[in-house]
């Protein structure tokens, strides 16, 4: 234990001399992890797929070829890499376009929940008292549900659609961010520089914005990356249950649920969308783990 402590303190002092920013230091340790780099590569691959989808995909999302029965449920071939579905649509093209939907839902829902969650967490942690009690109680109640169940409840109120699935996923993740920020605020609040800032008469809003928020950023980034992985699975699950994407949207979960009837005759309709979900989620998980080790070693449990 001791040598580690010593080397840590040496690190700190050299840091001051060379002025290596904390972000740069985090990047250095992130770069060392092979798993994190593989994860990042996977994520970048899917982002490129999403951005350049129209250039990559040979066909559109809904080019049906119903008249030619040999093109319906056709197995993978050099022309149709992942085969075709029951409408004769090219599954490879649909999987490529699906990356847009899944990544968009993942990023947007997590940004939404991070923003709302951080806001609630900050006012709850900073102001304390009854505001804290009310917000924390609401978080407790939301966390008392298995998350997919709460999402189902919200979507059944709002009505099934991809947009509502996104909103539901954003809502169920709010307490995770809220609690994280709240505890961070509680610990930062007691730091001497905050007390000093208060003493010189700095306004609350400025303290929150300039000091507390930047200090809470790294756990939010870590949590955010891991939350994208869960959000993508949850969105696919909701679509799979018929509560998310609607035809002809090439959402991966929806493609899986459509593929169920053809499991025997055309398993490729099921294999590829599922692989896409798994790889994307794996990428975000690996990247998130790497970020956690690099940015916030204390969070590792």
């Amino acid at each position: 234990m001791m040598p580690e402590l010593v080397s840590n303190s040496v690190d700190l002092s050299t840091k001051e001399e060379k002025v290596v920013g904390p972000w740069k230091e985090a990047w250095r340790s992130f770069r060392k992890s092979k798993a994190a780099l593989v994860g990042t590569a996977i994520v970048v691959f899917f982002i490129l797929l999403a951005v350049f989808g129209p250039l990559i995909a040979p066909e559109g999302i809904n080019e049906q070829k119903l008249q030619d029965s040999s093109l319906r449920l056709a197995p993978p071939s050099s022309e149709y890499w992942f085969g075709t579905d029951d409408f004769g649509r090219d599954i490879f093209s649909r999987v490529v376009y699906g990356a847009r939907i899944s990544l968009a839902v993942g990023f947007l829902s997590v940004i939404l929940s991070a923003v709302v969650g951080s806001f609630l967490g900050i006012i709850s942690g900073y102001y304390g008292r009854w505001i804290d009690t009310i917000i924390s109680r609401i978080f407790d109640i939301m966390l008392a549900f298995p998350s997919i169940l709460l999402a189902i409840a919200i979507v059944s109120i709002l009505g099934p659609s991809l947009q509502n699935a996104l909103i539901a996923i954003a809502i169920i993740n709010i307490p995770n961010f809220g609690r994280l920020i709240r505890s961070k605020v509680l610990s930062v609040k007691e730091e001497e520089y905050i007390v000093a800032a208060k003493a010189i008469g700095m306004k609350d809003s400025r303290i929150l914005w300039r000091h507390i928020l930047p200090n809470s950023l790294s756990p939010v980034i870590v949590q955010g990356t891991l939350a994208i992985a869960t959000a993508i699975i949850e969105a696919a699950a909701l679509s799979f249950l018929g509560l998310g994407a609607e035809a002809p949207q090439p959402e991966w979960g929806k493609m899986l649920s459509d593929a169920r009837v053809h499991l025997m005759t055309a398993p490729w309709t099921m294999i590829f969308p599922g692989l896409a979900i798994m790889l994307t989620v794996l990428g975000f998980n690996l990247m998130g783990d790497g970020l956690r080790d690099a940015l916030d070693p204390k969070m590792k449990n």
Partner: protein, 334 residues
């Protein structure tokens, strides 16, 4: 100890109340006229009126909520809109089916996950360790609904080893007593049916077990590695004690607390996964009950199904918390 349990239960009351309120909102917060939405566009004016009356939608919301709570306290979960049966009377078989599946999956996850983690830790950096941890890593990321479909395709449709779906042979149904088929078949001495029940459990069980299994394996490995570095384990090994004894008698005992924590957490999370697994395998549990209700816009069933599962989730978490105090006397609660 009793004091602590009492306090925990008291703390649960506001959470449970909040949960009932969220669930209450499922019908009442539907934008527009809930009765219209539930019955669809073609509904007649009278039908909508009748449903509004039945659900008490014309009352102020707090009276509706109060009535709902009063019903819950007397064990009344309302009536299914589709079958017009009281939900309380029809829910038990579904609940038992889910509990049986979840229990089976959790046993798989614990037995396989813990042993894989132990072997990985003992033979650290061996090929076994490497492969097991890569599988565990993938296991955490795999969507269980896809895994379920893959299992069905490979083991059921291609290899024909196991049944695709359901809980029993349609032609030879199990005579239900407790609705836990593993117990029912044993009581009746029907070992053939017991075996059939196990066969039906394997595929959905593994699908549901994957994520907890992966997490338990990873946690067991890291926890065991930490313990095995300690002096007393080195002493035990130096004394020449058998490996199995060192692991199971000395190391595991002290590595157990963090492992139990994840087991507890995962048991609760299993309930969410059960909804997806049951949908794929047509397992007649509460998840499938909710799924079908969504299809029929049977909102009272959706409402009660969600409440029941959430309630089970809370209870499991409570039991886990209490178990900690029993297992680790170092944890003190004030």
């Amino acid at each position: 100890m009793l004091h602590y349990i009492g306090k925990r239960i008291l703390h649960l009351i506001p959470v449970l109340l909040g949960m009932t309120f969220i669930v209450f909102l499922i019908i009442r917060a539907i934008p527009g006229d809930p009765a219209q939405v539930i019955l669809g566009q073609q509904a007649t004016e009278e039908a909508i009126h009748a449903l509004r009356d039945k659900l008490g939608l014309d009352q102020p919301w707090y009276i509706q909520y109060f009535d709902y709570l009063k019903g819950l306290l007397t064990g009344d979960l309302g009536e299914s809109l589709r079958t017009s049966q009281p939900i309380t009377s029809e829910i038990w078989p579904y609940l038992a089916a889910t509990m049986e599946l979840a229990f089976f999956a959790m046993i798989l996850a614990i037995v396989i996950g813990m042993n894989a983690g132990i072997i990985s830790a003992w033979f650290q950096n061996s090929w076994f360790d490497y492969i097991a941890m890569v599988i565990a890593l993938i296991g955490v990321s795999v969507p269980i609904f896809w895994l379920g479909l893959m299992e069905q395709w490979v083991f059921s449709l291609e290899l024909n080893w196991l049944p695709t779906s359901g809980r029993e042979e349609v032609r030879a149904p199990v005579e239900a007593i407790t609705h836990f088929y593993l117990i029912d078949t044993l009581i009746q001495g029907r070992f053939d049916q017991f075996w059939v029940t196990i066969q039906h459990l394997i595929l959905p069980g593994f699908a549901l077990a994957t994520i907890p299994m992966a997490i338990i394996a990873r946690m067991t490995r890291s926890s065991m590695l930490e313990v095995m570095r300690s002096d007393y384990i080195r002493t035990a090994r130096a004394k020449g004690q058998k490996m199995v004894k060192v692991i199971y008698k000395h190391a595991l005992k002290n590595a157990l607390i963090p492992i139990l924590t994840v087991i507890g957490l995962q048991t609760g999370l299993l309930l969410g996964g059960a909804i997806l697994t049951e949908t794929i395998f047509s397992w007649p549990g509460i998840g499938r009950y909710i799924y079908e209700a969504i299809g029929y816009r049977d909102y009272t069933v959706i409402q009660s199904g969600i409440l029941i599962v959430a309630f089970m989730f809370v209870i499991i978490n409570l039991i886990v918390d209490i178990l900690y105090t029993v297992i680790d006397s170092r944890i003190k609660y004030n």
